[in-house]
Amino acid sequence: MIKKKVITLALSTTLLLLIINILASNQPPASACTIHLGKKIKFDMEISPKVPLFHPDVDGYLYPGRPKITKYLKLINVGDLPFRICRFNASFSGEIYLATGLQIEILELGKGRGEKPNLLYNGTLIDLGEGINVYGKRAVPPKESVTLQISVWMPVTAGNEYQGLTVTADISITVRFPPSHDGMKC
């Protein structure tokens, strides 16, 4: 009788843990997710502004030697777990060749004025398309945000081959939990 109870308990425990696994592993890896571990836990980020960050109607045209165009993108933690920035990616449409002639710099701004910005990426826009793993400096707690300073410019050495081109770049920012630096893939 006791043996039967023990076996039933064991099976139940195993089943419960497997269910937890299934619940967790069924979450889409690149989207917000909610799991139940005794209580509802949400892992979610929002960005602001939601309108295109750069647009020629607002920012004008790029040309060699023009000063950097700088914009700010806020990543807001609307979930229940802290997150840290871990990856950038970009997909392109239009005249993609222009992306080879543009430089982009992404800085993670500190929480206070005294905190130095953390350089996350500095390179060509086209290289961002391969996906870049980065290490965000700050673990952003729930209900708080981190700001990215994104600057784009065309180097003075850029030539006539870029004249008149337009490219659309969808820049993706991925954050992850746990926010520790453990060398884990994003």
């Binding site: 006791i2 043996k3 023990v6 076996i7 064991a10 425990t13 195993t14 843990l17 497997l18 937890i20 696994n21 967790a24 592993s25 890896p29 690149a30 989207s31 917000a32 997710c33 799991i35 892992f43 979610d44 980020m45 929002e46 960005i47 939601k50 295109p52 960050l53 750069f54 647009h55 020629p56 004008g60 045209y61 790029l62 040309y63 060699p64 030697g65 979930g79 777990l81 997150f83 871990c86 990856r87 222009l98 784009v152 065309m154 004249q163 008149g164 081109l165 337009t166 490219v167 659309t168 770049a169 820049i171 993706s172 920012i173 991925t174 954050v175 992850r176 939990f177 746990p178 884990m184």
Partner: protein, 227 residues
């Protein structure tokens, strides 16, 4: 026996927990922001023509007259540009010796003389009347042979869809006595003015008293405005 079962259960539970934690640790969220970048353009046209040769002619050219030609340079690009003439090439050809030239003392059959006697004015004609008026930018006024090969940095900003009139004017080419005759020959001559991919070919058909004109290459250039 029960203890073994419990250990087994615990082991299975730990493995499952580890796997579960591994999955849990990969929580991530991705958001995407759209960006659109456009590179500006500079495109200079001459008399509304681009990428082709524009030809104009002066006929019956002779000492004493004051021929001129007005070109309209436009920026059909999307950003402001600075107009300049990047380099100037003057080719003065003898084109053979005629009797009046020899009598005037011209013994060289491989070197033209017209650039020694021909005066040229180059100016930006802001009011478009074709003459030098107050406020127009005269950037050359002298003998053709003194044209600087390095050209002129006109620092003339041209806004997108804007333009400026550019005047080439010949004058005072009859006051040099025998030298005038040394410049004689009978031929037609070309002036080439290039603007980016555009080329203007000025064809001089000289009749009455035939003279050799130098070939003048002006390379227009429009560069970006800093800042």
């Amino acid at each position: 026996m029960n203890r073994k079962i419990l250990v087994g259960i615990l082991a299975i539970g730990l493995v499952a927990l580890a796997v579960g934690w591994g999955t849990y640790s990969q929580f991530s969220d991705t958001e995407t922001t759209e960006t659109i970048f456009s590179a500006g353009s500079l495109d200079l046209t001459i008399n509304d023509q681009n990428g082709q040769t524009v030809t104009f002619s002066w006929t019956n050219l002779r000492p004493g007259n004051q021929p001129k030609y007005k070109l309209t340079l436009k920026n059909i690009g999307t950003i402001r540009g600075n107009l300049s003439i990047s380099n100037i090439v003057v080719v003065s050809e003898e084109n053979g010796l005629t009797e009046p030239e020899i009598e005037a003392g011209d013994t060289s059959d491989d070197e033209g003389e017209l650039d020694d006697v021909l005066n040229l004015r180059l100016f930006l004609d802001y009011n478009g009347d074709g003459w030098i008026s107050q406020g127009d930018k005269v950037f050359f006024n002298g003998l053709v042979k003194n044209l600087p090969s390095t050209g002129f940095d006109l620092k003339e900003p041209i806004e997108p869809n804007g333009g400026v009139d550019f005047v080439v004017e010949l004058y005072d080419w009859w006051q040099h006595g025998n030298v005038d005759n040394q410049a004689q020959t009978h031929t037609k001559h070309n002036i080439h003015i290039q603007a980016g991919s555009s080329t203007i070919e000025n064809e001089f058909n000289v009749s009455a008293k035939t003279l050799q004109l130098p070939i003048l290459f002006l390379n227009f250039k429009m560069g970006k405005v800093e800042g």
